[in-house]
């Protein structure tokens, strides 16, 4: 396969797939144990420095690890931990408190990012959560939703509009310990078994050090950047899941016989699989291009393009994989439908295709 990777990257990809395969095959291992193994290997720090316990990798490395997670459908906090939070944390953690970053990367004390307030605003651009400072003490009030892996976090990074008398409103990122009084967490699972939470902040009192990143422009950009990185990871995971869908669909139609011949001998199904192949390869190309892109503006366009393709062609591939398996594909006991569940989640997080199409088109 012309995978567009360097030898080193290919080795990382293969090792990652092997690691994920081993973890997926061991049904005795719980989700927590799987994640413990991955954090032990430094996966939560794929993008962060060696000093933090990570391996200082590139977005392509993140993409390849994500692909392995998606191929083997590992349900872990990888997306939120490695992609959404870790690099953001490294950028903003005040000097001298990098123990927070190390503890996050090791999995010992995970951090979660709480930025979204309504499902119609997946970029978290409109923030009603407010932070007020009075005599050196912060008070935080508001609510966030869809905080990925929020219930397990020790610390929450929360975006809030700051009310500072004499200064115009600005967006800040606040460090909120999960155990602070007034923090109410409603924990739930998503359709694919992954975890998220809605979190209310009911006049949560924080000390002066809780506010980080004094400039509101940086906070908004930092969140945008975190979401873009998470989107690269989501596309990588989707690629892995769709590769698995395609491989299993091929195997199925070669084996399954009806009307005294293999399903693979029916031209309409041959063409279907060919179209699935094309869609997967396009996602591979778009995903890698997005991960490789160095120019900031171009990278955003490239990531949007990949996310749009995930929502259209990617969802289609996962649906067709179910279709090719017949009624078996709709049963929970057959693995093929599980990929559709994960793809559905990856499509609807960080903005569906339509959200990105509008923004992509606005640039013309």
């Amino acid at each position: 396969m012309i995978d567009g990777l360097s030898d080193e990257q290919r080795m990382l990809a293969e090792t990652a797939l092997d690691t994920a395969a081993g973890l997926a095959a061991d049904h005795n291992r719980s989700g927590r144990e799987v994640w413990a193994r991955l954090t032990g290997l430094g996966w939560a720090g794929a993008l962060t420095s060696n000093a933090s316990g990570g391996f200082g990798g590139t977005l392509v490395d993140l993409f390849l690890l994500s692909r392995a997670v998606g191929y083997h459908l590992l349900t872990t906090p990888f997306l939120s931990s490695a992609a959404l939070v870790a690099p953001l944390l490294e950028k903003i953690v005040p000097a001298g408190t990098d123990r927070i970053l190390r503890a996050h990367v090791s999995g010992e004390a995970p951090v979660a990012l709480a930025y979204e307030e309504t499902s119609g605003d997946p970029a978290g651009a409109h923030v009603a959560t407010r932070a007020k400072i009075e005599r050196g003490v912060w008070s935080l009030a508001g609510a966030k939703r869809m905080v990925l892996d929020g219930a397990d976090a020790r610390i929450l990074i929360v975006s809030a509009m700051v009310e500072d008398p004499g200064v115009r409103d600005s967006l800040r990122l606040m460090f909120v310990p999960r155990t602070a009084e007034g923090v109410e967490i409603q924990n739930y699972r998503l359709i694919d078994g992954s975890r998220a939470a809605d979190i209310r902040f009911d006049n949560v009192v924080l000390d002066e050090s809780a506010a980080i990143m004094p400039s509101s422009l940086n906070a908004a950009l930092a969140i945008d950047e975190a979401i873009l990185t998470a989107t690269v990871s989501a596309v990588g995971e989707a690629l892995g899941s769709l590769e698995a869908c395609l491989a299993q669909s091929i195997e199925h139609i070669k084996t399954r016989q009806q009307f005294d011949r293999p399903l693979a001998s029916f031209q309409v199904l041959r063409h279907r699989v060919a179209d699935m192949y094309i869609a997967v390869e396009e996602l591979r190309s778009l995903g890698l291009a997005a991960a490789r892109s160095e120019d900031t503006i171009e990278r955003e366009s490239a990531i949007r393009a990949a996310k749009i393709h995930l929502g259209h062609a990617g969802v289609w591939v996962a649906e067709q994989a179910v279709q090719l398996h017949g009624a078996m594909g709709v049963s929970e006991e057959c693995r093929i439908g599980h990929y559709l569940k994960r793809i559905t989640v990856l499509d609807r997080l960080f903005g569906c295709a339509d959200f990105h199409i509008a923004r992509a088109g606005a640039r013309f």
Binding site: T118, D121, I191, A327, S331, R348
Partner: protein, 398 residues
Amino acid sequence: MHWQSARMRGENLEAFRAEARRFIDANVSPSLARRVLLGKPASLVEIKEWHAALHRKGWVAPAWPEQFGGAGWSLAKRWVFEEECALAGAPPLSVQGLVTVGPILISAGNEVQQKRYLPGILDGSAIWCQGFSEPDAGSDLASLSCRATPVAGGYRVDGTKIWTTHGHWADYCLLLARTSSGARKQEGITTLIVDMKAAGVTVRPIITLDGLHVLNQCFFDDVFVPSEDRIGEEGKAWTILKSNIGHERVLVANPGFAKALNRRLHSLALHSDSTGRRPIDEPRIRDRLALLDVRLRALEATALRVLDHPDLPVTPEASMLKVRGTELQQDYTRLIGEVLGDASLPYDPQALESPDEGEDSLYDANTPTYLFLRKASISAGTNEIQRDIIARHLLGPA
């Protein structure tokens, strides 16, 4: 908005439509209706209650001839009623008995069988499942291998059936089993009624992607079926089945259900969030709603054209309606999920089945519905097979 066929206008069905709506409102609780319209499953108790209400009214079997307890309605009247039920949130009935078994007993069963089994289907006291598909016989149903070996007084049945809707609730199974091998696979298949409580019958639940238990696998291990429970002649099941698949296919298009989905979609699209934005303000969403509307109009207008000619064979039309009807359901549920965005993702099987309606519930039923409906392009003849049927009609055999 209701489009009418010439036949409907001739029958003056608007008064009936209003009567139907009143009846449904009086017999389906608002709470149940809200749940059904959100895509949540009704309980067996609720389904049976609705069935009983329809039975008391004489409306439970609209397609059956009146002499057999049916309402003897025209196709157009049935069409209107199905639509009103879907729009009002009436729970879908367990239809195997009413739609498949009853008509087969009426057309091919003997009087003893009709007297014995039809009342239970009508009053809802007996639930039926269809033992058709097997693990190795899906689209190629004629290749089924479940055997019925003649013995003294009847048959001994051995084999397995799968994807059996309501097998776990069923009192009886309409079973297709092979009694002999003929020159063609279709010959030698016999229709039997199997008592699901008979010795040797086991039912294994199959959970679908929505986390719900609707489907099953049934095992028949040396099950005795008396000869009185054979419907029609031995080896003639295929002919019996073929003769019963007629205009039923028109109703499978089910635009009522698509309209109910369309209503929900529009309601969501017009809803302002806390920032004052509405999904319909996005041109992409608005355009997609307009395009789905075109497809819904095409589906309904096509079905109504067919309704106007109940005596013509409808081979390609029935397949076309099945294809377009199922694709529309799938595309509506997908778009509803996309409009909901990440609000469509939280999932809890207990919340799904709970009678607490909670429209503000964290757990929307749309994604489980979307996942279950991936089956619509597979069941009742895959959409690929339906296209084969259309192609054969147009082009002759390949």
